[in-house]
Amino acid sequence: MAANYRISGHGRLAQAKTARFSFDGRSFAGVQGDTLASALLANGVHLVGRSFKYHRPRGILSAGAEEPNALVQIVRDAARKTPNVRATVQELYDGLTAHSQNRWPSLAFDIGAASDRAGGMFSAGFYYKTFMWPKAAWKAFYEPRIRAAAGLGVAPDQPDPDHYASRFAHCDVLVLGGGAAGIAAALAAAETGVRVILCDEQAEFGGALRFEAGASVDGANGWAWAQATVAKLAAMDNVRVLPRTTAFGYYAQNFVGLVERISDHLARPGDGLPRERLWQVRAKRVILATGSIERHMVFADNDRPGVMLASAARTYLNHYGVAVGRNVGVYTANDTAYAAAIDLKKAGVNIAAIVDLRDNPSSPAVDEARALGIEVNHGRAVIRAGGKLRVSSMTIQPKTGGGERTIPVDALLMSSGWTPSVHLFSQSRGKVAFDDATKRFLPGSYAQDCVSVGACNGTDDLTATVDEAYAAGEKAARDFGGKAVKSLRPKAVSTESFAGNMLGAGPGAGLDKPVKAFVDFQNDVTAKDIRLAVKEGMRSIEHVKRFTTTGMATDQGKTSNMHGLAIAAETLGKEIPEVGLTTFRAPYTPVTFGAIVNHGRGALFDPTRKTATHAWAEAHGAVVEDVGQWKRAWYFPKAGEDMHAAVNRECVTVRKSAGLFDASTLGKIEVVGPDAAKFMELLYTNPWEKLDSGRCRYGIMLREDGFIYDDGVVGRLAPDRFHVTTTTGGAARVMNHMEDYLQTEFPHLNVWLTSISEQWAVIAVQGPNSRKIIEPLAEGIDMSDEAMPHMSVREGKICGVPTRLFRMSFTGDRGFEVNVPADYGLAVWEALWAEGQKHGACAYGTETMHVLRAEKGYIIVGQDTDGTVTPNDTGLDWAVGKKKTDFVGIRGLTRPDLAAPGRKQLVGLKTKDPKIVLEEGAQIVADPKQPVSMKMIGHVTSSYWSENCGRSIAMALVADGRAMMGKTLYVPMPNSVIEVEVCSPVFFDEKGGRLNG
């Protein structure tokens, strides 16, 4: 039976409904409004996990996002198993199922805890020292074992079934943190009508008012004021209030990433609700009201379950109505822990003793504690905690040494002071400054339009915090045109101060003691580890961090960084600022990949582009392949055909009769203007001025370095108008390349460039019967060889719609490309298909297109070229205008290395065994018997089975290849060496007669 630590009449959840939950298979009852941590503590459960390295039993340290210990796995269903959830922020819902992590076989008895006793082996940097010998053991033994033992929690093994939302937002004032400071700042700005966003990571606003029992604002209880004010803000049109929303990243120009948790706290989220929402907010000003985080004390065995932050115990009592123990010890170096002791004492919990490291502390809190009859031991330290699965005692000693005394406790509260949360300020690239008087880093110089208020700015009491925050809100409102309103500055009253700081190891973790006094709980880093790191030569805190792993992992050292720094500084004999502070990086707390990716997954990962005939192709059985963002028909198998059979049939049919191919994905650019020809002369290697209207030319585009950038057929429609085609993949970059030169190098040319890739659908009709298929449908175009020779273009109509009809061929057979407005693409395709059927034509896809062009030795830029290939290398020198004085790449082509012998040249390869099809990318050698590594003289760029040739064909780039015609070369493969003969890259119809066939 679980014990009941809920104290009636305390906390704010008294009227709440019961929520059942299970932890490690045991069933418990909590109440709505609990966190998993408060519900466990209410049942007397402190032991919730095992530590990462030593597998030490761990409890709940905190009551918030800084929690390093209480990490659990929350399981909703087979696909929803979230690891490393902080029990302190997981809101309880009815039916919640949680499991502890990092233990086997059970939490109370864990085999891995042997590493705790073998502690010497696991000292700081043990990875770098321990697994060095024998060398072979690393791969076979150490690495697999380490990998099995590493990691926290278990990653889900199914795709995430939840969906995640995303919003962009703009505002005048973004307030990060919804404690007293954030609320006051938001209120001041909101009243003037400026646009305000207020967010807080917790379910309810109020921050430290959650536990600060004595605070009041405008005469009301502080917490009640917070709730009422936030409700008022939420009702205002110019304010957006976001609870459960963490500001995780502060980026340039006041761009802040927020993640809103929408359904993780619901028992049944329902299908429609996203799990989380990513907010990308651009604010004119950011008000940082991020508060501060309490630190623990560093002494031996300070990690025993039941040892926790004083403010956490106070939160569990004052908000959740839960006592963390019945006989509680307190160890502190400031006043705030006294308040926890006082509240607990008043609630009927025995305070065994307060141990205060300070000599003769005097303050109202100390007096009140004494007046309540609490034993206060000053000038003393807790040097050791007793117990294993739960703290059972604290051993105290005067800090100057002397007699020890052991006091039984069942919970031990500690506080060494408060660390201002400068994480987001630091992420904004503001520089923190060390305040020597209070031993803490505070916002120093600002890099962006933001301001820090309250505890994160080092303001230690509530009255000053509210004043400061309200003033910052008023100032922002004035700066951004808020209307003048009568100031309603809230008056806050509190007797408490968060001042007082103690950094580093206490006497219980002294130099001469071989004890485990934890600085960083999550990474099991002790004071000794940090001293050892310094002793072994680490000088910068960045080195110490990496060597010891202090401040790493999911909590990013929120409680540990300052202690680690102080111990390192002390060991080095330096001041803290000299040792430096590690960099604060986003995210502040872990953010799911789901939230960041949000809608951009599956079909929405990348845009999908489909041509006008896509549905037709799918209906006719096409197998589709991805070409960049395009979906293209790959081949059209008939019943019973595999890819090989389909492609062979398509290849033969095109050359025998005709084939239809959707070439719409080709890039198309219209170059128009009085200087269009001049511009073409500069951008392409070919001469254009003398090309007649109505004629086409194959153009090559180079980069300035002389290498081929793109190619395509260009039609001159009129003296001032060119229809340029580019490769499918090159469409966008060629347009960019042209615009770049037109705008910046040749702005004197009077030319307009228009991308028309998506305006025109392109249907290639190729093969001896191509003219017969198109002619009946074309209007106003004489398609005879005399009137419309190869490489010409005509404008007219087809099927009643406008067309730009190109006579051109990428197959080597007579061919046309029918351009029609994209909206008519499908209708014209279907009409051409119907005509084609009369002649036995087929539809073919990209694979057949590739084979047919390779039979003719036509290159594909990007397949047969790779950005280091010149026109001469590919045998296309004829396309470079010899009389031209300028074009992009003209100077590059004369670079010595581009004209030198030994360049790789495009050739054909025939395998000695015609049945063997080479692998594309395979390397070519002259002598297969040479020892490895062999001298490679080239590589295969294209290789196919050619049914038309009755053999395999291949193209290759081979050093000085054109001088090797007829020679035998070798392609070494893993299991054999393939003999090949160098030949012309034109395998079919070498004379080219079929272009008019």
Binding site: Y251, A252, Q253, N254, F255, Q280, R282, A333, L357, R358, D359, R429, D435, A437, T438, K439, L442, P443, S445, Y446, A447, Q448, D449, C450, V451, S452, V453, N457, G458, T459, A464, D467, E468, A471, A472, E474, K475, A499, G500, N501, M502, L503, E704, D705, N736, E739, D740, Q743, T744, E745, P747, T885, D886, I890, R891, G892, T894, R895, P896
Partner: protein, 128 residues
């Protein structure tokens, strides 16, 4: 995500609308075919890689599509200014005076916030 001011659209737009286009103020020689190997090397291959201020070209790809020039600090990734293509290289000394408002540094003491340091009490030796 940065905001970049397009000098043609005359407004700040999100970084996603822009593409970097390499270093600025490198003009293509008008007689490029006749340039020496050394001059061509300088023009085509050699680029500065400064730690600090760089002059570079950007294109408002998904906006007006114009190429323009920008002065950016490679250390802070801050755009100091942008200007139209063809305009002369700005004077660096003049730039330092006029950064864009969004990056302006407003320390707390200019935000009618009381300086927290003023009331920080000193801590006795031995406590820290």
């Amino acid at each position: 995500m940065l905001l970049i001011r397009c000098p043609y659209c005359e407004e700040e737009r999100p970084e996603l609308e822009f593409r970097n286009a390499g270093e600025a103020h490198i003009a293509r020689p008008s007689n490029i075919a006749a340039t020496s190997d050394e001059d061509f090397e300088k023009f085509f291959f050699i680029r500065s890689n400064p730690k600090g201020i760089i002059f570079e070209r950007w294109r408002h790809m998904h906006g007006c599509a114009r190429f323009f020039n920008a002065v950016r600090d490679t250390v802070s990734d801050k755009f100091v200014m942008t200007y139209k293509a063809g305009e002369p290289k700005p004077d660096l000394a003049a730039i330092a005076e006029s950064g864009p408002a969004a990056w302006a540094n407003r320390p707390p003491d200019q935000l009618n916030v009381k300086k927290p340091a003023a009331k920080r009490k000193t801590i006795k030796k031995g406590e820290a």
